[in-house]
């Protein structure tokens, strides 16, 4: 019986009735200790007090300027951070009928045997670099399927290849022979090998041509419609617009706005979110003045204060973390 990819919604493992599995991140913080620099600049506050949720059948886009700490989130969830990272807070995978798995405290063995590939599939940035250069795509795909306890016969591999838009013969190529698009598809196949219910896509569209971005975006949309949960981490707002159900905006390591996609793209209420959209060439194309702060020297209160034209004394205090973390959100900002 070749491995057929039935949509998760209809497969028995998840009850269509219940809320299904979900990832709940609650107060997650990641700090890096670096040496060889002045003590006051020795701690990088990459992620501070992140709070969000991703449910099956939903796509949450985590957007922000590069350098705001969003890519660290992907590695933190899968426990792939180097040893000089300190992770605090909680990130729980909650599936019906099984006790939740807390990703932050989980030892390496649990992550390797129960979470990675089985519950969470990672679509990495620059996919060709994440494939072992001396082994063919077929060997790595077959190995992944076997380790995840799935049938790894040649027709299973062929089915998985066709599923992500690759010809079975392409699997016999080595990573350095794959074009940008093909490497992306192999990465998708590997992420789907264990049929995980949560897909984390880390900057899947960076550096790719427009038509290729289109295929990736529609693939992510299909994964969500199939009933998987998708966490899309990107700074490409146009791609996010076509696939996200909800949008979380990250600035200087904090989530400053978490709203529905419709509201984010049509009526952004956080000044920074509005600024991001205004900067797009397809919109006002006006830059946000100033620079993002250094993650080693974060200002007190709202980090966006130095660049915000609506800043008031109130902004000295950190705004309450709710839908829009701002003391004076915009009410009717129309984005042309």
């Amino acid at each position: 019986m070749s491995h057929t990819f039935t949509s998760i919604r209809t497969s028995t493992s998840s009850q269509t009735v219940g809320i299904g599995s979900r990832l709940r991140v609650d107060g997650l913080s990641v700090r890096f200790q670096i040496s060889g620099v002045a003590p006051d600049r020795a701690t990088v506050h990459a992620v501070t007090d992140a709070r969000f949720e991703v449910r099956q059948g939903e796509c949450l886009a985590l957007v922000g300027e590069s350098g705001c700490g969003k890519s660290v989130m992907a590695h933190a969830l899968l426990g792939l951070l180097p040893a000089n990272a300190e992770v605090t807070g909680a990130a729980r995978l909650e599936t019906d009928g099984a006790e939740p798995v807390d990703l932050v405290g989980a030892p390496e063995a649990v992550l390797a045997r129960r979470v990675r590939g089985r519950m969470i599939g990672l679509v990495p940035q620059s996919p060709a670099a994440h494939l072992t250069p001396v082994r063919t795509a077929r060997a790595q795909l077959a190995e992944a399927l076997r380790e995840l306890g799935r049938p790894a016969g040649s027709d299973d591999l062929a089915a998985l290849a066709r599923r992500v838009g690759l010809r079975p013969a392409d699997l016999d190529l080595y990573p350095h022979q794959l074009s940008g698009g093909m490497a992306q598809r192999v990465a998708n196949a590997l992420a789907l090998a264990g049929d995980p219910w949560l897909i984390v896509a880390d900057e899947p569209t960076t550096g790719l041509d427009r038509p290729l971005v289109q295929t990736i975006v529609s693939e992510l949309r299909r994964l969500t419609d199939e009933g998987r949960a998708v966490l899309l981490i990107t700074h490409d707002l146009r791609a996010a617009e076509q696939v996200a159900d909800r949008v979380a905006v990250m600035y200087a390591g904090r989530i400053v706005s978490l709203t529905s996609a419709a509201e984010f793209f049509a009526r952004p209420r956080h000044p920074y979110a509005a600024g991001l959209l205004d900067a797009l060439p397809s919109r006002r194309f006006t830059p946000i003045p100033g620079h993002p702060p250094e993650l080693t020297m974060l200002p007190a209160g709202c980090a966006f204060r130095p660049r915000c034209h609506r800043a008031t004394a109130a902004c000295e205090r950190l705004p309450e973390p709710d839908e829009v973390a701002c003391h004076h959100p915009l009410e009717h900002h129309v984005v042309r």
Partner: protein, 233 residues
């Protein structure tokens, strides 16, 4: 035109340019003109030779065949010996590779001025003005490459490119690695330079929205995919 010396600006013309890297022909008889005073676009999938053409236009790469003329003068000598090379400025895609790791940001901006024989004090003052126009704060100017972000580094590279008031500025995927806000800022700065000096700008990118918003209507050239197969491959 506000340029002090040289003939009137008639454009940076490349005719029938052919470049081959060990048996693989990257450019085959390509022609392109960067007209002064407007923004010309150059688009095409990765691997179609956009960057190679940009380096030929900047007189950094001698083509196997074809002609390049700068405001009517044909370019005969290339790289170090090309005497018109300061008239065309090239901004690279990866700022981190386009900056010497030992240079501070100020060194980067001031280097072309010093190379042109400008006295140090005068060059530094001019450099600081250029940095200020790119909203690079003073504390950033003393930092080296690994202590600043890509965005701040690219601002220094743009300041360096504009230091000698070039007539043509080629932006080779200048903002592909950067986020929307930095991109908007760099493009705004280049637009004010163009309006102020009437220089010609060539925007090389595969971002269709950026081309549509930044380039002159109808002035966008498309290079074919390298092996002519469908783009999606």
């Amino acid at each position: 035109m506000l340029f002090a010396e040289g003939s009137p600006a008639e454009g940076l013309r490349a005719d029938g340019i052919t470049v081959a890297y060990d048996r693989r022909r990257v450019l085959d008889g390509t022609s392109l003109t960067v007209r002064p005073g407007i923004v010309t676009g150059l688009a095409g999938p990765s691997g179609c030779g956009k960057s190679t053409l940009a380096r030929v236009l900047a007189m950094l790469l001698r083509p196997a065949a074809g002609r390049l003329t700068v405001d009517g003068t044909e370019v005969r000598r290339w790289r170090h010996r090309a005497d018109l090379r300061t008239r065309v400025a090239l901004i690279f895609q990866q700022p981190r590779l386009a900056v010497d790791p030992r240079f501070t940001l100020l060194d980067v901006i001031v280097e072309p001025l010093l190379a042109a024989g400008r006295p140090a004090a005068d060059a530094i003052a001019h450099g600081e003005r250029l940095a200020d126009e790119m909203s690079l704060t003073a504390d950033l100017l003393t930092r080296r490459r690994h202590e600043v972000s890509d965005g701040q580094l690219q601002r220094a590279c743009v300041a360096r490119a504009l230091a000698l008031r070039p007539r043509y500025v080629i932006c080779d995927e200048m903002t592909t690695m950067l986020d929307a806000s930095t991109q908007a800022h760099l493009v705004a700065r280049l637009e004010s330079y163009r309006q102020e000096t009437g220089a010609g700008v060539l925007a090389v990118t595969h971002d269709t929205d950026l081309l549509a918003r930044w380039c002159e209507a109808g002035a966008v050239h498309h290079l074919p995919a390298p092996d002519g197969t469908s783009l999606v491959r």
